[in-house]
């Protein structure tokens, strides 16, 4: 992190300390020091790491399942008019329903636990990815295809060597956006339907009035989400170093 972003983060922490001092009630707003101590205790007994691991596992699993459907479906929609017509409207109709609205029915269908969370995560990641990947494949410049055909490269080879490569940048950005939304959806699912995970940490802290734990959960979510985005950007930069 360079100086300016670091300074802005430190400024907010300073303001937070100031507000907490004025409030003088750690039940309502624990300051950064109190929160750090709580985080330290949660790290020492290992529960914070258990929660992070639980959340990350669910995110990755759900994201991978969503990806496994979104890539072939989005790719097919981007390349074939018929597939687009079959699935396009359907996707646009279901997409506006937010993941949080799927929580009650997920609990009804899958019960409280792993399957529900996986469903919510998968649902949250799927739609932005399928639409992004569809766009990526549909917007492949026709000129690349014409150039390849004039060089004697057709059909499967054309798809593999040109279409996939031309779509790749947008496909990877869609994957990054999908991972971010998988994480957001997971916390929504965990708030209601889990005993472990960062969402559950916040939900439990609310019941026991441990506001410092609540803040630890929130900040950890921010940090983990930030880290995931950072890793995805590194992967993106590696694959697209020709740009």
């Amino acid at each position: 992190m360079s100086a300016l972003p670091l300074a802005s983060v430190l400024l907010v922490i300073g303001l937070w300390q100031l507000a907490a001092s004025f409030m003088a009630n750690p039940q309502v707003l624990p300051g950064p020091v109190v929160t750090s101590l709580a985080a330290w205790r949660l790290m020492l007994d290992g529960s914070l790491f258990t929660d992070i691991a639980a959340s990350l596992t669910r995110v990755i699993e759900g994201w991978l399942i969503a990806l496994a459907i979104a890539i072939p479906l989005g790719g097919a929609m981007g390349r074939s008019e018929a597939t687009r017509r079959i699935f396009g409207t359907l996707i646009e109709l279901v997409r506006p329903i937010p993941p949080i609205a799927m929580v009650p029915i997920a609990i009804l269908w899958f019960g409280i636990g792993w399957a529900s969370q996986l469903f919510i995560v998968c649902y949250g990641a799927f739609f932005p990815m399928v639409i992004g990947i569809y766009d990526a494949f549909r917007n492949v410049d026709k000129l690349y295809e014409q150039a390849a055909q004039s060089l004697g490269v057709h059909r499967v080879a054309l798809f593999r060597r040109v279409v996939v490569m031309a779509a790749l940048p947008s496909v990877i950005s869609s994957m990054r956006i999908g991972l971010g939304l998988a994480f957001v959806s997971l916390v929504a699912a965990e708030l209601i339907a889990a005993s472990t995970g960062l969402g559950a940490l916040i939900a439990n802290a609310r019941v026991t009035f441990q506001t410092d734990h609540m803040l630890v959960g929130m900040i950890t979510i921010g940090l983990v989400g930030f880290l995931l985005g950072w890793i995805m950007r590194k992967i993106e930069a590696y694959f697209l170093r020709w740009r």
Partner: protein, 279 residues
């Protein structure tokens, strides 16, 4: 140096006096072999379109020729080129390359696009070796091939670069090398230097002629710049709306040509008059 007077023909099927049989010779190697025969081609865009974009166009092109197609925008010169390339289906008539009917794009007809159309995810060398014929052979053979064609365009030092690291003129040089490395029967160029500045355009024209002199591949070059056409071509075909009226100026000036000499300028005036007056 002899200047050939503009050869005018009417709206008849053949433009050239040297009318050729449509079943082109299939023997290779002959310098006068007819490679492309366009016969009575008409093209319509879409079912609701009022008239054809091209109507009853015919001509033939021989091995080793450099032909420029000029005319006002909308005259159908690019459409004709795309039809030969196999990108635009023809409504009536036929196009044959080495006697084989054109039904779609293929590597016997190389393309150079105005937008370069290089593959940005590949290096310069990988771009040059992309084609089906350019990519065959062992690694040393391919490297030698890449070196040969990159040398022709003066870019051997840039083989490991990506297109994004090159200027527009350099990118188009790579595109020329890529098209030539695949050894097409005919090279189709759709205003390839139209997006470049004047100085770069002249450099590219000279590079193009240098490769042409060496490889003698039949070249088909669409441009709206009449002086570019006269500088490059053996024959300048002037098209009018829908390709209905076509004239042809034979440029018999040996290369290298002096852009500014009177005889070249006289040819440009002839082409200009044909292109802009007879609407």
């Amino acid at each position: 140096m002899t200047r050939t007077a503009p050869h005018r023909t009417g709206t008849g099927p053949a433009v050239s006096t040297t009318s050729v049989p449509d079943h082109a010779a299939t023997l290779g190697g002959e310098s006068s072999e007819t490679l492309i025969v366009v016969r009575d081609v008409s093209i319509w865009y879409g079912p609701g379109s009022a008239g054809p974009v091209l109507s009853g166009v015919s001509f033939a092109a021989k091995a080793g020729e450099f032909i420029c197609l000029v005319g006002p925008s909308g005259c159908g010169k690019s459409t004709l080129l795309k039809a030969i390339a196999g990108f635009t289906p023809i409504g009536r008539g036929s196009i044959r390359v080495r006697g084989a009917e054109v039904t779609g794009p293929g590597s016997d007809r190389g393309m150079v696009f105005q937008e370069f159309a290089l593959f940005p995810w590949l290096t310069v060398e990988q771009n040059v070796l992309f084609g089906d014929k350019a990519s065959i052979g062992s690694l040393p053979e391919r490297r030698e091939r890449a070196t040969h064609y990159l040398d022709l365009v003066g870019l051997t030092a840039y083989r490991e670069y990506h297109p994004s690291q090159l200027s527009g003129g350099m990118r188009q040089r790579v595109a020329l090398a890529r098209a030539w490395a695949n050894q097409p029967t005919v090279l189709l160029m759709d205003e390839p230097f139209g997006a470049l500045d004047a100085r770069t355009r002249q450099e590219l024209q000279e590079t193009l002629l240098r490769i042409f002199e060496k490889e003698r591949t039949l070249c088909f070059f669409v441009t709206h710049d009449t002086s570019e056409a006269v500088y490059l071509a053996d024959r300048v075909v002037v098209m009018h709306a829908r390709g209905a009226t076509r004239e042809e100026v034979v440029v018999g000036i040996p290369r290298p040509r002096d852009r500014h000499c009177e005889i070249v300028r006289a040819h440009v005036r002839d082409v200009d008059r044909l292109a802009w007056d007879a609407k």
